[in-house]
């Protein structure tokens, strides 16, 4: 008899594979950061510009850069496993503290953006699939391809020029996550119960409109296109005709049968959405001057601040792997034909 592994074993197996992959990724990240040009002690560190050769040698020794790569990797991975990524070479701050500061800022953009992708993309895709022969659907498809093709930083710059500029429409703030006069965040209860809390929430929403929209734009288009293709395929399946022949209402046929079948590839995409959004934040945060993961990563690469570069790359890689595992499991949950071997 062909026994199907239990859900627990499936998850354990997927996590084991993910762990091995993550290990491989850490090796690649480590080698890639060490192979960056000009990674000698403080070569591009603005705080070490005037250092003498002797001082640079001392810095290199203190950072372990004079050790063989294998030893350096061992020390780094050992600390990383304890979630200790060391200190920034530039600011001397603990990398963990930096991540604690910047990750929530990026999440405030990425999570609403992902939600927007699905809330707008799926209904739009369904509509286009149902109206696939209409002129509107064809025009919308062209617009979708256009939206996918526009680079995020172009959309971001244009959005500032047009929607944060009194020469056109000064509707939204151009930068940052909060206004200059907004009180600092005071907790969830504070948000709901005080006038300052409500002002804070409204102010935060206004600041999020442009970055979230710019991040979501290509995602909405991509999800809509995926949904359209998937739905169009589902709607042509024989069981849809059979359901209609049995006298089921059109709404039930579309949402209860066709969309459920079409949802599998779309749900799988959700698993990759967060790491993709993190990657998209690299340019977006710089344009909107939001000190999140993307901004910090670019700054750290420029200054060869390897502890920060390594930590961010590893965290994003881990998120990607977790996303893949979640996607695999979701697919299995939605589609009983999928099994794990």
């Amino acid at each position: 008899m062909n026994a199907t592994p239990s859900l627990g074993r499936r998850i354990a197996r997927r996590l084991a594979i993910g762990g091995a992959t993550l290990f491989g990724i850490t090796v690649v990240v480590f080698v890639a950061t060490r192979a960056l040009p000009d990674v000698d002690a403080g070569a591009l560190d603005p705080t070490r510009v005037g250092a003498t050769d002797e001082e640079r040698a001392a810095i290199a020794a203190a950072r372990g850069l004079d050790e063989p790569w294998l030893t350096q990797y061992g020390a780094w991975i050992g600390s990383a496993l304890r979630l200790d990524f060391g200190r920034s070479w530039t600011s001397e701050r603990r990398v963990g503290d930096i991540l604690t500061d910047v990750v929530p800022r990026t999440l405030q953009i990425t999570i609403p953006a992902i939600a927007l992708c699905y809330l707008l993309g799926v209904p739009l895709g369904v509509l286009l699939a149902l109206r696939r022969r209409s002129a509107l659907a064809r025009a919308a498809t062209v617009a979708i391809v256009g939206a996918i093709c526009v680079p995020g930083f172009v959309a971001a710059t244009l959005s500032i020029v047009f929607f944060a500029n009194p020469d056109f429409f000064a509707w939204f703030p151009a930068t940052g996550l909060s206004g200059d006069d907004t009180a600092p965040y005071g907790g969830l209860a504070w948000l709901a119960t005080s006038a300052d809390g409500r002002a804070f929430a409204l102010d935060r929403l206004r600041h999020l409109v442009l970055p979230v929209t710019c991040m979501a734009l290509p995602g909405v288009a991509y999800i809509a296109e995926q949904t359209r293709v998937s739905m169009a395929t589902s709607l042509e399946q024989p069981w849809i005709e059979a359901a209609r022949a049995r006298g089921l209402g059109e709404r039930r046929v579309v949402f209860g049968y066709a969309l459920r079948d079409a949802a599998v590839p779309i749900v799988v995409l959700l698993g990759l959405a967060l790491p993709t959004a993190f990657s998209g934040s690299v340019f977006l945060e710089r344009v909107f001057s939001i000190e999140g993961v993307g901004w910090t990563f670019v700054q750290a690469v420029g200054e060869r601040d390897l502890p920060v570069v390594g930590a961010i790359a590893t965290v994003v890689a881990a998120l990607t792997l977790i996303g893949l595992v979640v996607a695999d499991l979701s697919r299995a949950a939605l589609d009983p034909r999928v099994t794990f071997r």
Partner: protein
């Protein structure tokens, strides 16, 4: 399906309506919209690493730190060599200029209320000199052979093995910001990091918040000084010029210290600011105030910054070791054309700003004349003997390599390259990554190196031109390797009389101009804008940043 379509349309319309009501358009900047705060908002070009002036990464971070920390003395905004008391009230050299004593104020407290004493000054000195120190002042203190001792609760004495006229300025102001001993003396690395993000100083403003891209300073009222009028400063980091310009126009910024010429003339100036008038005002006064009614509530102005761009020629080897070649190259740059076309800078003939007392205004640049350059080169034996389009002498072509740092504008160098090519001089321009640029400079691996230098108006020219500073390694400040003015340079650095020193510096200027170890291009212009409701904004071309929030005040609301 119609119902689905209708539902979707209604949902979108509803969301749009709600959004429309929530996000009512901000008031564009046509009048004074300031109602909730009197803090002034100023952009920073990049995120600061640290607000401790002795561990900070970039010089621009001093824009913030200057309001948080005090120095022993404060330089006069407009007069070179004039200082006003700050933390110190008096100072005196000993007879042979080997020791300097400062008398300190007795009524100063730190932002946390602790008293300021001479121990803080001595601690700051030790902090800057410690092993592994990143303080920008350390190299100069080491070079001067400085030591420090406390000689009373409010009295401190510095001794020097090699004092120069710059030694007072070194300790009195920029660079030697005084740190609180009680906060840093036993600080752990984490404490130091925390101090860098929320420092304690004695300055007129204290840091209350550093969150995201924003650093907030609030005025600190202290009985021992007249407090500034502006109640606070918010520094905001921008990495996109479009975003900072949009925020300036919509009223989310009050002062912009560095606009591009396009933003200044075309966007904010609406094409109504006359470039020629700005250029003439800059040449005459160093400051140009433009028609204030160009963009609603904004005022525009330009000033000449104490920052000169130049190409230092390698005088130690290759074709540029020949003075005739260097002088010929000087004929190939149309500086007036550059200023006219885009930059608004001021033609310079020295590494010193044209505003410096040691700058000789009678020295005029060698005129733009490719013909004169060709004649001079032929006189020096350079001809195109092999007819390959490049001049040669003794079989070697006149081919030069100019290195440049990343992220700099190469308009002048490209013009030089084009003009040189027309007469048979091949110039290649290598824009190098920062570390390689630095390494190439140290090793004299270039024929020319393109640099911008911001110097104090009474800077010591010794490290720039003395032969002892032309050494391969990190101390290589004399990039041209020039070695024909050593005696004059030594006289300058040991002349403590201001007028006599200015005379010597002008002599050096003439000598440098004659030998052309460097091709000086221009003193750069800074373009700024601020809200009309912000009054008292005075631009000081002689100060490093050129402006000072402490002088500003808001117009009364309703004006």
């Amino acid at each position: 399906m119609r119902r689905t379509q209708l539902g979707l349309s209604m949902t979108i319309a509803g969301v749009a309506l709600i959004a429309g009501s929530m996000f009512a358009p901000e008031q564009p900047l046509r009048g004074d919209t300031r109602t909730r705060t009197d803090a002034v908002r100023i952009p920073l070009p990049a995120p600061p690493t640290d607000l401790n002036p002795h561990t900070r990464g970039y010089a621009f971070e001093d824009i913030v730190a200057d309001y948080v920390f005090d120095h022993l003395f404060e330089r006069d905004a407009d007069r070179v060599g004039v200082y006003h008391p700050s933390l110190a009230t008096e100072w005196a050299w000993n007879d042979d200029h080997t020791a300097m004593t400062f008398g300190l104020r007795t009524d100063v407290t730190w932002h946390d209320g602790e008293p300021f004493t001479a121990a803080d000054v001595a601690f700051t000195f030790a902090y800057a000199m410690r092993d592994g120190s990143r303080s920008p002042i350390k190299a100069a203190l080491v070079a001067a052979g400085a030591t420090c001792e406390v000689v009373g609760e409010h009295r401190v004495r510095f001794a020097f093995e090699r004092a120069t006229y710059r030694t007072f300025a070194l300790l009195a102001e920029r660079g030697f910001a005084i740190l609180p001993k009680h906060r840093l003396v036993d600080a752990s690395p984490d404490d130091e990091v925390a101090f860098g993000r929320a420092p304690i100083g004695t300055g007129p403003y204290r840091v209350t918040e550093w969150r995201g891209n924003r650093i907030r300073l609030v005025r600190r009222d202290a009985p021992w000084r007249t407090p500034p009028t502006i109640g606070g400063i918010v520094f905001k980091t921008y990495s996109s010029p479009e975003a900072s310009l949009a925020d300036l126009k919509r009223g989310a910024l009050d002062f912009h210290p560095r606009l591009s010429t396009t933003a200044f003339f075309d966007d904010l100036g609406r094409g109504r600011v006359e470039r020629a008038a700005v250029r003439d005002d800059l040449a005459r006064d160093g400051v140009a105030h433009c028609d204030p009614d160009t963009h609603g509530a904004l005022r525009l102005a330009a000033f000449t910054a104490p920052s000169v761009s130049f190409v230092a020629w390698n005088c130690r080897r290759g074709p540029t070791a020949d003075r005739a070649v260097r002088r010929a190259l000087a004929h190939l740059l149309d500086r007036d054309g550059l200023v006219e076309a885009s930059s608004l800078g001021r033609v310079a003939t020295s590494e010193q700003s044209p505003l410096a007392p040691g700058y000789d205004p009678t020295v005029q640049p060698l005129g733009f004349s490719p013909d004169a350059a060709l004649v001079a080169l032929r006189k020096a034996g350079w001809f195109d003997r092999d007819r390959d389009g490049v001049l040669d002498r003794s079989g070697a072509p006149l081919a030069l390599r100019i290195i440049a740092p990343p992220r700099c504008r190469l308009t002048a160098i490209e013009q030089l390259r084009t003009n040189a090519k027309a007469i048979g001089v091949a110039i290649t321009v290598d824009r190098l990554p920062a570390a390689r640029f630095s390494a190439a400079k140290r090793a004299f691996d270039f024929d020319g190196v393109f640099l911008g230098l911001t110097l104090d108006l009474d800077e010591d020219p010794y490290p720039i031109w003395h032969s002892s500073a032309a050494v391969a390694g990190p101390g290589n400040f004399n990039l041209s390797g020039y070695a024909k003015a050593d005696a004059l340079l030594e006289s300058i650095r040991h002349t403590f009389d201001d007028a006599r020193r200015a005379t010597l510096k002008r002599e050096l200027h003439r000598r440098i101009h004659d030998d052309q170890p460097a091709l000086f291009i221009q003193a750069q212009a800074r373009l700024v804008a601020w809200r009309r409701s912000l009054e008292g904004v005075v631009l000081h071309p002689r100060k490093p940043f050129g402006w000072d929030v402490r002088e500003w005040h808001w117009a009364a609301i309703g004006e």
